[in-house]
């Protein structure tokens, strides 16, 4: 079954690129600059993995991650943090994320990580 990946990033060009890259790699993609909708989704519609930008303008990606990981419904959804900030790589575990990738990245590295967490 096609895996469903949601991308949360406030930059449109990054959303576009993720869309093209992940669709090409055979995933279903939904992109958004706002993560709030995730908390309202019924269990059935939850994605198989979330790519979450660390520094979303307005809301901190780390806080969103903490929230999703603390809720029973969303707890199991794997979250890979994405950031242009090197130092974020040292602290992703603190707020419950499963993994971390730094911008810019190699496509294969990203796809390997996604595969690992979607158990393909």
């Amino acid at each position: 079954m096609t895996k469903n990946i949601h991308v949360i990033d406030d930059d449109e060009s990054i959303q576009d690129a993720f869309n093209v890259l992940l669709t090409t790699a055979g995933y279903k993609v939904r992109t958004s600059s706002d993560a709030n909708y995730l908390q309202k989704l019924p269990k059935k519609k939850l994605p198989d993995l979330i790519l979450l930008d660390v520094l979303l303008s307005g809301s901190d990606g780390r806080e969103i991650c903490k929230k999703l990981k603390s809720r029973k419904v969303t707890h199991h959804v794997p979250i890979i943090m994405v950031s242009a900030n090197m130092s974020a790589g040292n602290s992703f575990k603190e707020y419950g994320a499963d993994d971390y990738i730094e911008k810019p990245f190699e496509m294969d590295e990203l796809l390997d990580k996604i595969k690992k967490y979607t158990k393909e």
């Binding site: 930059d11 060009s13 990054i14 576009d16 690129a17 993720f18 093209v20 890259l21 090409t24 242009a84 900030n85 090197m86 130092s87 040292n90 911008k103 810019p104 990245f105 190699e106 496509m107």
Partner: protein, 566 residues
Amino acid sequence: MSSKQKEFRKIRQFVLMNADSIQKEANRLHRKYLDVGSMQSEFIGKYHNNHIKILQEIAKHLEASDTKKSSEIFKKLGTIFAKQSVQDELTLEEAVDGNIFLKQALWKKIKEERLLKKISIEDFFVLSQNVGTYIDVLTSELAFTYHQELQYVENNLRYLSEASKILSSSLDYQTTLNAIATLAVPEISDWCSVDILDENSKLRQVAVAHKDAKKIKWAKELRKQQTIDMNAPTGIANVLRTGKSEIYPHITDSMLVAASKTKKELRLIRSIGLTSVMIVPIFSEKKPIGTISFVTTETSRHYNHGDLLMAEELGTRASVAIENSKLYKGSQDAITLRDDFISIASHELKTPVTSVKMFTQVLKKHSEQIGDAKAVNHLSRMDKQLNKLTELIYDLLNISRIQAGKMEFNKNLFDFDHAVTEIIDILSQTVTRHTFKVYGRTNKKVRGDQERIGQVVNNLISNAIKYSPKSKKIIVKLTTDRDNVYVAVRDFGIGIGKVYLDKIFERFYRVYDANNKTYPGLGIGLYISSEIIKRHGGKLWVDSKVGKGSTFHFSIPINGKKSLKL
């Protein structure tokens, strides 16, 4: 007229008529008994006039019965002559001796004229007593004031030298001016105030000191109550307007009355007990921007021309200090702005690079799938350049982090040899022209940031490649001793001139080759590397010969617990 009065009148007239020849006789005696050849000729006329004045005063008060009262005049003369002598840099002997010989010459001439013959013993006694007292009062006052003045001059010089030291020691002029004001009290003045025009052209008292510490608050209060009228014809306002200093050796009550607008103000200003005032300007870009005011109160110290010269000199030096601190602050602001900009810009650059890289890789994958070898080749090159661009962005980010003291390190125990050879392996895959030879092993585990140390190795080898375009070999040597591991990266390239050896570790410094050409790069790789090594408690250095090549070495302490300042 009594015969007594008549005789005294004769003597008086004689002295007044022959003052000049008496003075000449004094000079002759002076020259005869003491060597006065050293006295500068320009002073001879000046002191001639002083002696004439003394003789005239003596003549006027010959038969005075109240010597105490008439002595006051000679006391005043003594003060004036002492100040002149100090300004003219005469010795105390030079200043005093002339007056003693003057007395001798006066008696000699009076005797020669037989003017004492008809005078009674009592009158002769009064006469000799008076003349003697006058000269004594004059010389003792002269000596006393001379010493006091000399002390002032010495204080002035000491103050000026101390103040200069303070002025050049700090680039924060607020602190500096405070120190200047404090230092002036009590040696130079009882009260010192520094006032500077702020950016809104409002005069602000930036520093104030008073000999009575309790009065500082009062002095500040005074300034608040009595705002300075910027149109006033004299005082701080005038000094600011004209850029010319003012001196008031003797402040009189009528001056206070003229300066006060209200009775309340007059009362206040009278309560200060002003004696003497000097105000000198402080300049910035040749415009007066402030003043230093020196005030003496209720003391005998009256400022003179010499004091003013000192104060003006101080004003000039303070101006230079303020100028320097302004330039310094400006450059610091510019540096902060630049570093902030680099930090923001490099971060912002990452986003478009990320998306371009993603699209490039998607296209490359697609081209691979449809078997378009040419497109795959081109896209791979694009991807490589994007990686270079990313590295440059990282360098910029690193440099702004180092500047802000925010460079982060991860501390881990790692296999040193493995970390170095891993970098060399990765580089070998991308390098076409050069070959690497690795010698030695350390067999040591090191505590530090493996990625950052790898960054240093990468940087040194990349430089070796870049700066040896015409040779092929690059040698990497690994060695160790009890305390450190060492890496040496040697190339056989253009080398570095002696004069540049220290500079290459500076930020933004780039080496020029023999044809005055630079090589690509931002000139920050070595700076970042040396910062990384420094933070690990190690050293980074270079041996080089122009045309022969360079060897870069670095050391990392093995026992990282002790020296790792991460």
